[in-house]
C-alpha cells in the first residue's frame, strides 16, 4: 500500500456513497467493479457493497478521482 504505484483507496461511508451516486445520477451497478479479494480492498478492509474512492495521479489532470464498487 505504501508503494508509489498504488493509488490511494478509501472506503466511503453510506452517506458519502449516496452523495456520489446522486451526483453522478447512476445506480450502484453502473460503477466499475473491484474484487473483494483484491489485495488493496483486503488491506483496507472493504466489504462487498462498499464504494472505494480512488485518488490517483494523472498525466492530464494532475489529480484524478474515480470510484469502484466492491464485489465478490
Amino acid at each position: 500500500m505504501k508503494h508509489e504505484m498504488v493509488p490511494d483507496h478509501a472506503v466511503l461511508s453510506k452517506s458519502e456513497s449516496n452523495k456520489v451516486l446522486k451526483k453522478m445520477d447512476i445506480h450502484l451497478e453502473q460503477l466499475p467493479k473491484i474484487k473483494s479479494d483484491d489485495p488493496v480492498a483486503k488491506s483496507i478492509g472493504a466489504k462487498e457493497g462498499d464504494i472505494l474512492e480512488i485518488t490517483r495521479k494523472s498525466s492530464t489532470a494532475g489529480k484524478f478521482i474515480t470510484y469502484r464498487l466492491v464485489k465478490d
Binding site: M24, Q30, L31, A61, F64, I65
Partner: protein
C-alpha cells in the same frame, strides 16, 4: 409478410430431418427439365410454379401473393440412394470412430459416461461452452473393444472429402446411415448432437431440399435466350443421375453399374453444396468456368456475408477522381455537373418554394438545376420526362416531394478511404463545376491524406433536414481545422502556399503600387486607396490579419542561433505581429502551414472557425498570386555547388574515413576502451556510426554554405518547410551517407563480408555500406547495391507497418465504438457502466484544446507583453 412484427426470443440451431424437408416442400421435383417448348415451366420440374414467382404480374400458386411479395417455397428431390452431406463428412467420421459398429453405443465405459454427463449438466446450467468437453470426449472415446458388447472395433478412416473407410472396406452411405440410426439419444448428446434438434443420421441425405426460384433466378439474355442460374444447372445434374440410378436399380442392373451411378450422384450433391471441396474436381460450366454453388455464394470477400451483410452499397453517392482547385473555399467541393444531375436532394414543396420547384421540373432531368423525380403524397414516385413535365407541374402542390438536382450551396459528405480518423469524412458545400472530376481546395489534402496522382473520393448527399443540420454544425471542414490528435491545425497551407508566402513577405520583397494592385486583384482582395508609395510584402500580408492580432514566435526558417537577436534576426525569422501589422519575420510553414501554423491556430482559437476559414482562403490565394508574380521553379541546377566546395567535402569525407580506419586499427590492437554497458564490438560500431553520421552532416553544412536562400528555390522550399528537407539537398549535392539495415551498418550477405569485393571481416566505411558519393555524382555499383538494401528495408517496413497498425486500429475501434461521453463528462459504455468519471481524466476536448492543454500561460503572457510594451 407486411406488418408482421415479432420479437426474437431465442434461436435454436439444429439439423433438418427428412420429414422436416418433406413437410416444408411444396412439390416433389422429378423432371430434370425447366421449361417446355412454349416457354412455360414444367410441372414437377425445377421451375415449377409452386416454387414461387418472380414476375410481379403473376400470382404464386402456393401462397397466393404477387411476385416480389412471395419469398418463394422449397421443393424436394427424393434421392434414389442416400448420400453424405459434404459439410458433415468430418463430423460423421468422428462419430463413427467413437461409437461401436455393432451396438451403436459410445465407446466410453459406464463410469465415464456418468462422469461426462455430470460435467455436461454443470456446463449447460452455467450456459458455458461445451466445445472443449466434446473435444475431450472424442479423444477419450477411441477403443479397440466396445465396453458394452465386447465387440472388436476396426479403425474408421476418412478419405477426403466424403468417403468413409473401415479397414479396407469403403462404407456406403446406406451402411453409415444404418450405424448412425442405432446410436441411442443419450450417447448422441455426449457426441455433441443434441437429440432435441438433431439426429446423427440426418447428416446423411435421403431427400434433398430444392431452393425456391427466387434464390436461383434465370436471366433472359437480349437474344431472347434463357440462361439458368448455376444452382439450377447443378440441380439438373442431380436430377438426371438420380433418375438414371432409379431406373437402373428397378431394372436390376449389375451391382457395379449401380455403384458407379451412386458415386456420381454423390459427386453432384457434393459439388452442389461446395464446389471448392478439396479432393473433388470442381464442376464446370459449359464454358469451363467453375460453377458458383451454395458455399461459394457465402464464402470469402465477395460472399454474402462480407460483401452484402457487413458491407452495403448506398444510393445518392458518387465517386470520381479528384483534382485541385485553389480558387474554391476549403469548405467547398467542386462537383461535376454530370454528377450533380444524377444525385438528388428531396425537397418538400411548400407555398414558398413552389415556383422554384416548378422551374426545376420544367428544366427536367437533363438541364442542370433540374429535377429527376416527384414523389406524390401517396408515396408514388414519378419520373420526370419531357412529355410528362407539364402534367406534373400542373398537379404540383404543397406536400409533394421533388427530387431536385444538386446545386451550389448544398451540403454533402465527402470521404477518402482509408477513413482512419474523423477528418476523413467532412461536410462540404457543393459547387457545381464543368468537367468530370471532384475539385477540392489544397488545404484539405492533409486531413484526407489526398494527392492528385489518381486518387478517387466518394461523395454522399444528405437526404433529410436533420442530417444536413447536424453535418453543417459538426462535420463542416472549418470545424475540423484543429485536429483532436494534437490540438493544432491539421488543415492549412501546403507546398506553394508556403513558398509563396515566404517570397511575398521576405525582407527584400518590395512592390510598386501597380504590382500590389495586380497581386491583390488576382487574389480577389479589396483594392486599397492609392497612396503612391512602394509597399513591402509584409504590408500586403498584414491586410489579411485581424486588426487586434498580437503575436510573437520564431519562424520555421529560424536557425536556432546560440543567442537570439530577436527583431534584428539576420534571417528575418523572428515574427512580430502588433495590432495586425506584420512588423518583422517572414511567413512560412509556422505561419499557416498544416500541422504547424501558429497564426492560423491562434485565429481559430481566438476568433472562431468562420474567421479562420476566411483567413485561410484569402491567405492561400494571396500566396498563390505572390508566387505567380515572382515565378518559382527548381531543377538540379539548384543543387549545383562550386568545385571548391566539392573539394572541401571530399577532403572532409576522406578525413572521416581515415578516422574510421584508425578506430578499427585501435580495435584490432586492443587499444579501444569499451563504453559502459557495451561490448568492444558494439563500442566500435557506435563510434564508427557517429563519425560517419557527423561526416555526412558536416559535408551537408559545407554544401549549404554555398547555397543562397535568396536565389535558390530548392533551399527556399526546404527551409520554409514547403517541401523537402536540407537532408534531401545534402544527399543530392554532397554525400548520401550510411545505409542501414535493421538499425545498424550493413553486415549481412556473404560469409563474414557484405560482398566478395571485400576481405573477410573488413569493417571499413565502404565495406559496411557507407555511400561516399552524392546522388548527383552517382553511386558506384557497390554503393548502389547497399543503397538498394536500405531502400528495400524501408519499403518492407512501411508495408508491414500499415498492415499492423491497420489491424490494431480496427481492434481499438471495435472496442471503443460504443463508448459515449455524457453531458457531465462521464464516459459510459452502451450498458451505462462507467468507464471513466471524467473524459480523459481532465475533461478536455483535445480538438478544442491548445495543443492538448486548456491554456498555454506562456503564450498569453507573451501577448500581453506586446500589448503593454507599445
Amino acid at each position: 409478410m407486411k406488418g408482421v412484427l415479432k420479437k426474437i426470443s431465442q434461436i435454436n440451431f439444429g439439423l433438418m430431418s427428412p420429414e422436416d424437408i418433406r413437410k416444408m416442400s411444396v412439390t416433389k421435383i422429378v423432371t430434370p427439365d425447366t421449361y417446355d417448348e412454349d416457354g412455360y415451366p414444367i410441372e414437377n420440374g425445377l421451375m415449377d410454379p409452386r416454387l414461387g414467382v418472380i414476375d410481379p404480374s403473376l400470382k404464386c400458386r402456393s401462397c397466393g401473393s404477387k411476385g416480389g411479395d412471395c419469398q418463394g417455397h422449397f421443393g424436394s428431390i427424393n434421392l434414389a440412394r442416400p448420400v453424405i452431406h459434404v459439410g458433415f463428412a468430418d463430423t460423421l467420421h468422428k462419430i463413427l470412430r467413437s461409437t461401436c459398429h455393432s451396438c451403436g453405443r459410445i465407446l466410453l465405459t459406464d463410469s465415464e459416461i456418468v462422469d461426462y454427463k455430470g460435467k455436461f449438466e454443470y456446463l449447460m446450467n452455467n450456459e458455458d461452452s461445451l466445445t472443449n468437453i466434446i473435444k475431450e470426449i472424442y479423444t477419450v472415446a477411441r477403443r479397440d473393444k466396445c465396453p458394452h458388447c465386447e465387440e472388436e472395433q476396426e479403425d474408421v478412416k476418412i478419405d477426403k472429402p466424403v468417403s468413409i473407410v473401415e479397414g479396407n472396406y469403403k462404407l456406403t452411405p446406406s451402411e453409415v446411415r444404418e450405424r448412425l440410426e442405432i446410436i441411442p439419444d443419450e450417447d448422441a448428446l455426449l457426441l455433441g448432437v443434441n437429440p432435441e434438434v438433431a439426429r446423427p443420421e440426418w447428416m446423411i441425405l435421403t431427400v434433398l431440399p430444392v431452393p425456391p426460384v427466387t434464390v436461383r433466378p434465370s436471366i433472359t439474355l437480349e437474344t431472347g435466350e434463357r440462361s439458368e442460374d448455376d444452382l439450377t444447372h447443378k440441380l439438373v445434374d442431380i436430377l438426371r443421375i438420380n433418375q438414371r440410378l432409379k431406373e437402373n436399380m428397378e431394372a436390376g442392373a449389375p451391382q457395379l453399374i449401380v455403384e458407379d451411378l451412386w458415386e456420381l450422384l454423390q459427386y453432384h450433391v457434393t459439388t452442389y453444396f461446395d464446389n471448392e471441396a478439396s479432393g473433388v474436381p470442381p464442376a464446370r460450366h459449359r464454358s469451363g468456368r467453375p460453377l458458383k454453388t451454395l458455399a461459394q455464394r457465402l464464402k470469402g470477400k465477395e460472399g454474402r456475408f462480407r460483401s452484402n451483410l457487413s458491407g452495403k452499397r448506398v444510393n445518392f453517392s458518387a465517386r470520381t477522381v479528384i483534382s485541385p482547385d485553389p480558387y474554391i473555399s476549403i469548405n467547398e467541393v467542386g462537383v461535376p455537373d454530370l454528377i450533380a444531375k444524377e444525385v438528388t436532394v428531396p425537397v418538400h414543396v411548400t407555398e414558398w418554394n413552389m415556383e422554384e420547384m416548378k422551374e426545376c421540373i420544367r428544366n427536367g432531368s437533363d438541364v442542370h438545376p433540374g429535377a429527376n423525380y416527384v414523389i406524390r403524397p401517396d408515396d408514388r414516385k414519378i419520373r420526370i420526362y419531357e412529355e410528362t413535365k407539364e402534367a406534373v407541374i400542373d398537379k404540383l402542390e404543397p406536400g409533394f416531394i421533388v427530387e431536385r438536382h444538386l446545386k451550389d450551396g448544398d451540403i454533402v459528405l465527402f470521404n477518402r478511404q482509408p477513413s482512419l480518423h474523423r477528418m476523413s469524412m467532412m461536410a462540404h458545400e457543393v459547387r457545381v463545376l464543368p468537367y468530370k472530376t471532384f475539385r477540392l481546395n489544397l488545404c484539405v489534402c492533409p486531413p484526407y491524406n489526398a494527392d492528385f496522382d489518381g486518387d478517387e473520393m466518394n461523395m454522399h448527399v444528405f437526404q433529410t433536414e436533420e442530417s444536413r443540420a447536424e453535418a453543417k454544425t459538426l462535420m463542416r471542414v472549418q470545424e475540423h481545422i484543429l485536429s483532436p490528435r494534437f490540438g493544432g491545425p491539421i488543415i492549412g497551407g501546403i507546398h506553394d502556399h508556403i513558398s509563396g508566402a515566404y517570397l511575398l513577405t521576405r525582407e527584400s520583397a518590395t512592390f510598386t503600387e501597380e504590382q500590389v494592385f495586380q497581386i491583390l486583384r488576382k487574389a480577389k482582395m479589396a483594392i486599397p486607396d492609392r497612396t503612391g508609395e512602394t509597399w513591402s510584402g509584409k504590408q500586403i500580408f498584414s491586410l489579411l490579419l485581424p486588426n487586434d492580432l498580437n503575436m510573437v514566435y520564431k519562424a520555421e526558417i529560424c536557425r536556432k542561433c546560440d543567442e537570439c537577436l530577436k527583431r534584428e534576426c539576420k534571417n528575418d525569422a523572428y515574427v512580430v505581429i502588433e495590432d495586425g501589422q506584420l512588423l518583422s519575420g517572414v511567413m512560412d510553414e509556422k505561419a499557416y502551414g498544416a500541422f504547424a501554423g501558429k497564426i492560423l491556430d491562434h485565429i481559430v482559437k481566438e476568433y472562431g472557425t468562420d474567421r479562420a476559414r476566411e483567413f485561410l482562403d484569402a491567405s492561400t490565394k494571396l500566396a498563390i498570386s505572390g508566387i505567380m508574380k515572382a515565378g518559382f521553379t527548381t531543377s538540379t541546377n539548384d543543387e549545383e555547388i562550386p568545385l571548391e566546395a566539392k573539394e572541401r567535402i571530399e577532403i572532409h569525407l576522406h578525413k572521416a574515413e581515415e578516422k574510421v580506419d584508425q578506430l578499427i586499427e585501435a580495435y584490432e590492437n586492443h587499444e579501444l576502451e569499451a563504453l559502459p554497458g557495451r561490448s568492444l564490438e558494439e563500442t566500435l560500431e557506435m563510434k564508427i556510426m557517429q563519425v560517419l553520421g557527423e561526416a555526412r552532416d558536416k559535408s551537408g553544412e559545407i554544401a549549404e554554405s554555398y547555397f543562397d536562400i535568396n536565389e535558390n528555390h530548392a533551399v527556399i522550399m526546404a527551409l520554409t518547410g514547403a517541401r523537402g528537407s536540407m537532408l534531401n539537398l545534402t544527399q543530392i549535392t554532397a554525400c548520401v551517407g550510411q545505409q542501414s539495415v535493421r538499425g545498424g551498418r550493413i553486415d549481412r550477405g556473404y560469409n563474414e563480408r557484405t560482398l566478395p569485393h571485400f576481405r573477410k571481416g573488413e569493417l571499413g566505411a565502404k565495406a559496411r555500406g557507407f555511400v561516399h558519393s552524392s546522388y548527383k555524382e552517382g553511386l558506384d555499383p557497390i554503393e548502389f547495391f547497399f543503397h538498394a538494401m536500405g531502400g528495400r528495408e524501408g519499403l518492407v517496413d512501411t508495408a508491414i507497418r500499415t498492415a499492423q497498425s491497420g489491424y490494431m486500429q480496427r481492434r481499438l475501434v471495435n472496442a471503443l465504438q460504443d463508448l459515449n461521453v455524457k453531458e457531465d463528462g462521464t464516459v459510459m459504455d452502451n450498458r451505462g457502466v462507467i468507464i471513466q468519471t471524467t473524459y480523459g481524466e481532465d475533461g478536455v476536448d483535445p480538438a478544442k484544446s491548445d495543443y492538448g492543454k486548456v491554456v498555454d500561460l506562456d503564450k498569453l503572457i507573451d501577448e500581453m507583453r506586446i500589448k503593454s510594451g507599445k
